[in-house]
């Protein structure tokens, strides 16, 4: 116990120092420090929770879904610990728990809601011992960091296979790679999925999204495609098919970036979030909420008043322009935000921010799997930005989309945007993770948007 208390003290002190010195939000370093003193500090703190935890993983949607689940639990009067600022490694989860721990080293909260990077899942599940583990999807992402999708899938498989009795896996049945994992588990998971072909495409938009049958190797046949390779699929030799989801979203209505609504498990849900990808996040949060004991009518009422997670989708006004900031970090995510911006929100003005720092992925070749062709003939202004703005300019050229000069500095990119647009215009800023941070920091410097650890 003494060791745990010492670890908590040291970690908390580090967090305070980091915030005071303005070196960011102090979102992971305290975890580092505390774990060095007591490697078991996270499992000890997690055991203090009066109700338990949920762990959320997947390539896209972790932060938004975790925020939704936290929103649901807090609204029902629970005290919630969550790693909010996208700090989703084991150190980030530890830091979040430390932040809510008292000086006696005890964590005073009811629920833990942890978004966890796919590769860290086995360790997180082992330490946190969650009541539920939610797997949203498995897309190709940041190949330079992880190697191949298969090695990530294997990690998730081993984590879910080791879940203790009484711990439920909540899985997206529409994702063939997630389904493959779930079908091999010792205890059956709870499957969820979309059920509305009116919002689906008939075929995979990208050859790169193709999936093969895990048993016979044949290319999977898709009856409906919702996002990336998520949809309704079947092996032509009947060796593998989408598991039947227990909880579904039907009658989906999408209104640009403004809102979406759907019948989830028979309850009408309406929420101020846009895009089909967010419909998956809302469905996942509903499934999580039900599993953690919340009533459908309460969930429906609470979600109406939701606010988006930091930078995932954020609106601000800057010199008379309405900026819509949307995180777009890999092909599946980018194609969806682009589709929402062009087709549903009828966007005309864009800033595309591409960085190649570690958190973005140092390999930018994935931009060639994003359909920037959607912008052709529709966009009036496109500003390529970020430290790889020049690569983005080449991508746009080959999509035959007119663009301004590439701008690698956030300030110059914003200036270029202001020059090319008029007051009253709406501008969609689609950015990778650190490109978004850079842009946001510049907006803060110019007196707009609050620093992120205050939101």
């Amino acid at each position: 116990m003494i060791r745990k208390t010492a670890a908590v003290w040291a970690g908390k002190a580090t967090g305070t120092l980091s915030r005071v010195s303005r070196r960011g939000g102090g979102t992971t370093l305290p975890g580092d420090v505390a774990r060095a003193i007591d490697p078991k500090v996270l499992s000890k703190l997690a055991a203090d929770l009066t109700r338990g935890s949920i762990v959320i993983t997947g390539t896209n949607g972790k932060t938004t879904t975790a925020r939704l689940v936290t929103w649901l639990l807090e609204g029902a009067g629970h005290r919630v610990v969550s790693n909010r600022a996208g700090a989703n490694l084991i150190f980030g989860a530890t830091a979040a728990a430390l932040d809510k721990a008292g000086l006696d080293g005890k964590l005073r909260a009811d629920w833990g809601v942890f978004e966890i990077d796919e590769a860290s899942l086995p360790k997180a599940v082992e330490e946190i011992k969650p009541k539920a583990t939610l797997v949203l999807n498995l897309f190709r992402d940041q190949l330079d960091r992880y190697g191949e999708l298969e090695s990530i899938a294997k990690k998730i498989e081993s984590a879910l296979g080791a879940l203790p009795e009484g711990s439920t896996a909540l899985l997206n049945a529409d994702d063939p790679r997630v389904a493959e994992i779930g079908l091999g588990l010792p205890r059956p998971p709870l499957w969820y999925g979309l059920d509305d072909t009116s919002v689906a495409a008939r075929e995979l938009p990208h050859a790169a999204d193709a999936r093969t049958c895990p048993r016979c190797g044949a290319s999977l046949h898709f009856e409906a495609v919702y996002v990336g390779h998520d949809g309704v699929y079947e092996c032509p030799n009947h060796d593998f098919a989408r598991p039947k989801p227990k909880i579904t979203a039907k009658h989906i209505k999408l209104e640009g970036f403004e809102r979406l609504s759907a019948d989830i498990d028979g309850t009408r849900i309406e929420i101020p979030l846009g895009g089909l990808y967010n419909c998956y996040n809302v469905l996942a949060a509903f499934v999580a909420g039900r599993t953690l004991g919340l009533e459908p009518t309460y969930i429906s009422e609470r979600l109406r008043a939701f606010r988006a997670a930091f930078g995932r989708q954020e609106r601000m006004e800057f010199r008379g322009r309405n900026l819509n900031l949307v995180l777009s970090k890999n092909p599946a995510g980018f194609n969806e935000t682009l589709r929402t911006a062009v087709e549903l929100a009828h966007g005309k003005n864009f800033l595309i921010g591409l960085n190649d720092r570690k958190a973005d992925g140092t390999d930018v070749s994935w931009i060639w799997d994003v359909d920037f062709e959607h912008l052709k003939g529709k966009a009036r202004t496109v500003v390529p930005a970020g430290n790889r703005a020049h690569d983005m300019a080449v991508r746009l050229k080959y999509a035959e989309v007119e663009a301004t000069e590439p701008e690698t500095e956030a300030g110059r990119a914003l200036d270029s945007l202001i020059k090319a647009t008029n007051e009253g215009d709406t501008v969609h800023l689609l950015c990778t993770y650190t490109a978004m941070l850079d842009l946001r920091a510049e907006l803060v410097r110019r007196g707009w948007a609050k620093p992120y650890w205050e939101t």
Binding site: H206, T362, S365, W368, D391, Y398
Partner: protein, 249 residues
């Protein structure tokens, strides 16, 4: 009548992990912008149709699971028409997994040998460390300017060239074929193999034109009209600047 230019994409659904569509788009658009009727033929599993019409074949990289699925099909369906096309002057660009499969064999860490189709005189062995990062090559191809090629590598295979293949160039930055002899890629007749993606051709428009030109010689085209490559070369230049920065660190 418009002259045609045809790109054949080998296994677009399975061997397409590193934004390989960029290479396809670059070849097609650069032909189209010059007034050619540019066509794409997708060569998935089980098909050989139109392979004799292809000017440039592209063969990309895949994950292990997909690469194993491709291998049998390559031997059964694609190898004979591919060899025929190349002997008639068609060009092949093979990246990463595709590069390895066109060689003699791939030797795994456990000592298991997977034969390739032996179109190029190279062999590959599994290595421990994965080579990941920017690549800058000083190319040995005489007819291209600038002489540099830029890309991104991500592979654990170590590829060694036999006497019939010559390297694409020397690495100024990155590990290249095997991390030991300072060479990247291979060129053997009209077959070009490399570990560079990123995608390779968009930021190397001069290499894209070299491939198009090499394939069209047999159709009596020996000169391509110039295009404005300032956007592509600015992106190329950015990588060269970063490479200098790496060296000074």
């Amino acid at each position: 009548m418009k002259k045609t230019f045809t790109v054949g994409w080998l296994y677009p659904d399975l061997m397409n992990i590193y934004g390989d569509r960029g290479n396809i788009l670059t070849l097609l658009k650069r032909a189209e912008w010059r007034g050619f009727d540019a066509k794409l033929v997708e060569l998935g599993r089980g098909t050989t149709s139109q392979m004799d019409e292809v000017d440039v074949f592209f063969f990309g990289g895949g994950q292990d699971r997909e690469q194993a699925l491709v291998y049998e099909d390559l031997l059964e369906f694609k190898q004979p028409p591919l060899e025929r096309a190349v002997s008639n002057g068609a060009v092949v660009l093979a990246v990463c997994g595709g590069y390895q499969l066109l060689g003699h064999y791939y030797l795994t860490a456990e000592g298991e040998k997977f034969p390739g189709i032996g179109m190029i005189d190279v062999k590959t062995e599994a290595g421990k460390k994965r080579f990941i990062g920017d690549v800058v090559v000083d190319s040995d191809i005489e007819t291209i300017t600038p002489k540099t090629l830029v890309g991104f590598e991500n592979h654990s295979g170590r590829t060694y060239l036999g006497p019939k293949a010559r390297p694409l160039g020397k690495t100024r930055l990155g590990h290249g074929n095997n991390g030991s002899d300072g060479m990247e890629g291979c060129l053997q007749g009209t077959v070009l193999g490399t570990y560079m993606h990123g995608s390779l051709l968009p930021k190397n428009p001069h290499l894209a034109d070299y491939l198009i030109r090499s394939a069209l010689i047999r159709r009596g085209v020996d000169e391509l009209s110039p295009l404005d490559d300032s956007v592509e070369l600015a992106a190329h230049e950015r990588i060269l600047l970063r490479a200098q920065h790496h060296q000074h660190r």
